[in-house]
Amino acid sequence: MANDRTASGSEPLVALYRMMVLIRRTEEQLARAHQMGLVPGPCHTYVGEEAIATGVCANLRADDVVFSTHRGHGHALAKGVSPRAVAAELMGKATGCSQGRGGSMHLFAPEIGLMGTSGIVGPSILQGAGAGYSFKLLGSDQVSVAFFGDGAVSNGAFHEGLNMAAIWDLPVIFVCEDNMYATEVAFRDATRVQDVAQRVRASYDMAAVRVDGNDVLAVRQAAEEAVARARSGDGPSLIDCKTYRTRPHAEGMRDGGYRTAEEMAAWKQRDPIAAHAAWLIEAGHASAADLEAIEAEATTTVNDAIEFARSSPFPDPATAADFIFSAGA
């Protein structure tokens, strides 16, 4: 057995691996469920980008809040939503985290700070800024995180939201997941300045760094600094994470015509999970057997989640118009 000091020092590093594997296995199983017709609506997976949600959320408390995107399963899981609740929501079941009212693009678990994934590109940035405004107004030390893709960077919400967060010193962490494409539109065709951090420093005088989004330790480090800055009242930050999605934009979509097989193969070589596994072993934080055990555990958890979702009931049709107003149940 490793000595105690090594064990406690290693555990947070191994936990990053555990979360990334959990997200990967969940996404793979959800993609399969989608192919089997068990997911009636759209499904955008996070495969290849797991290091970002994992590295960021490792720095958050349960009462910190996250505003997410259409590609939000990873953010939900990293914030603590169970694979059962995510899988059940995608299958439209009453046991889903939005009780069947949302699906993949509207995952909600406000009791643990998941304030919604979103079917619209942009609003996560504004709502994230607004939660920061709340925390500042109410004198809380909670922080808010807004995730968004490169596709949101040219949207007006980005400019308006980052500008407001900067001028009012709001406790917000803006996390750009630049996977090089917004559906099939390349980021290089959508902007003259692909270095988002540079743009943000120049335009808003906001702390901003560019990191390898496939390096979970780099993301975690950048997020640790950004969260500390926000929590201590020193204002917002942007983390510009360069990454790549290795599955189609959404399950079942044609994936050709806008990117090459060579590009895809090169990025698969930079898989964030494999890279972290190699580092954990090399640095002596875990053995290959430890990591295999973690993978087996994730597989069991996710199989259980899929089974739970499949066997859960659909919501009662009589409740279809419940919850429109606060009083209405």
């Binding site: 919604g116 609003p123 800024a129 607004g130 107004l137 808010s144 308006e160 500008n163 606060s326 149940a329």
Partner: protein
């Protein structure tokens, strides 16, 4: 009872609630030290400072989206649009986010947000400063829509807006802002979805919205001299809409006119008319009538502007025609 203006009454509601609820903050352009283009926040900045009276850059979409996030996390934002026309820049945040998040979160997230601004035609404001737009919001599930027509209602409805947990459009017609009326000094609030019968009568029912309420009352005073006895109803909120009061009145009079300065097509009059047809057809002694502003962008020149709003003569004619049917 003391008489104060519509704007003073609404401001009193805001000031009283800001004093007891530290989670309320106001955003808008010039609502800080300046006190608001329409004096909506006069004197409040000195008391509460910039965090609660937040002057913003001109980013309607941005600050509406920001206020959504704030409302979701324990604050109670009041968005002061000045002219409600500016709300159009934020429609996605309103119709796709603010109206839907309580539902999507199955009631676990609240959306206590007040969206206020002045509406209506008058003063040669021309077409970018004369809109009302309330039928759009009534059409969408998830909004409350209040259109107070006098100081008493303005204060009472804003109190309810500022203590409830739903998004509320609070729409103040610009020609009503300086009108005075009785407002009690004691605390009160008016529930949403409760129309006011502002004049009792038996010959016909007129539902009069916002600025049309005082205009219709003036006309009915004149008609009374001809022994025409008209009942006038001000719905006060359009969502929820108090159909029970309207149906009861139609049951008594058998005749209905809906008077609304905004557009006719797919408007509030169309909706009320359809519901009366569905639920009160047998009570009708004449076809339901509507009186609306002309379906056009608002022109600037006074001669054109006055040509598109229903004036007292048009109201009188509509009522006489209805009674003669």
């Amino acid at each position: 009872m003391r008489e104060i203006t519509y704007t003073e009454a609404a401001r009193e509601a805001l000031a009283e609630q800001m004093a007891v609820d530290p989670s309320i903050f106001v955003v808008g352009e010039g609502i800080g030290e300046r006190g608001g283009n329409f004096n909506t926040t006069l004197g409040l900045y000195e008391k509460y400072g910039p965090m609660r009276l937040r002057d913003t850059p001109i980013v309607e979409r941005g600050f509406v989206g920001l206020c959504a996030g704030a409302a979701m996390t324990g604050s109670r934002p009041v968005v002061d649009f000045m002219f409600i026309d500016f709300i159009l820049d934020s429609m996605g945040e309103l119709l796709n986010q603010i109206s839907k998040i309580q539902y999507m979160s199955s009631g676990r997230i609240k959306m206590p947000i007040v969206l206020r601004g002045c509406i209506g035609i008058g003063g040669a404001a021309a077409t970018h400063h004369s809109g009302s737009y309330y039928p759009l919001f009534v059409h969408i599930p998830g909004f409350r829509v209040a259109t107070p027509s006098n100081p008493y209602d303005a204060k009472g409805l804003l109190k309810t807006a500022l203590t409830g947990d739903d998004p509320v459009l609070f729409l103040e017609h610009k020609l009503l802002l300086n009108r005075r009326g009785p407002v009690p000094e004691a605390e009160y609030a008016l529930p949403f979805g409760q129309a006011a019968v502002i004049r009792e009568g038996s010959d016909a029912t007129v539902v009069a919205l916002a600025v049309m309420a005082p205009k219709v009352l003036d006309v009915c005073d004149e008609l009374a001299k001809d022994r025409l006895d008209i009942e006038v109803i001000d719905p006060r909120t359009l969502a929820p809409l108090d159909m029970a009061t309207i149906l009861e009145s139609v049951g008594k009079t058998g005749r209905l006119l809906i008077a609304d300065e905004t557009f006719g097509p797919c408007g509030i009059g169309a909706e009320i008319s359809a519901q009366v047809m569905e639920q009160g057809f047998d009570d009708l002694d004449a076809p339901i009538a509507r009186l609306n502003g002309v379906h056009t962008p608002t022109p600037y020149s006074p001669s054109l502007e006055s040509a598109i709003i229903p004036d007292n003569a048009a109201i009188e004619k509509a009522i006489r025609d209805l009674v003669a049917e």
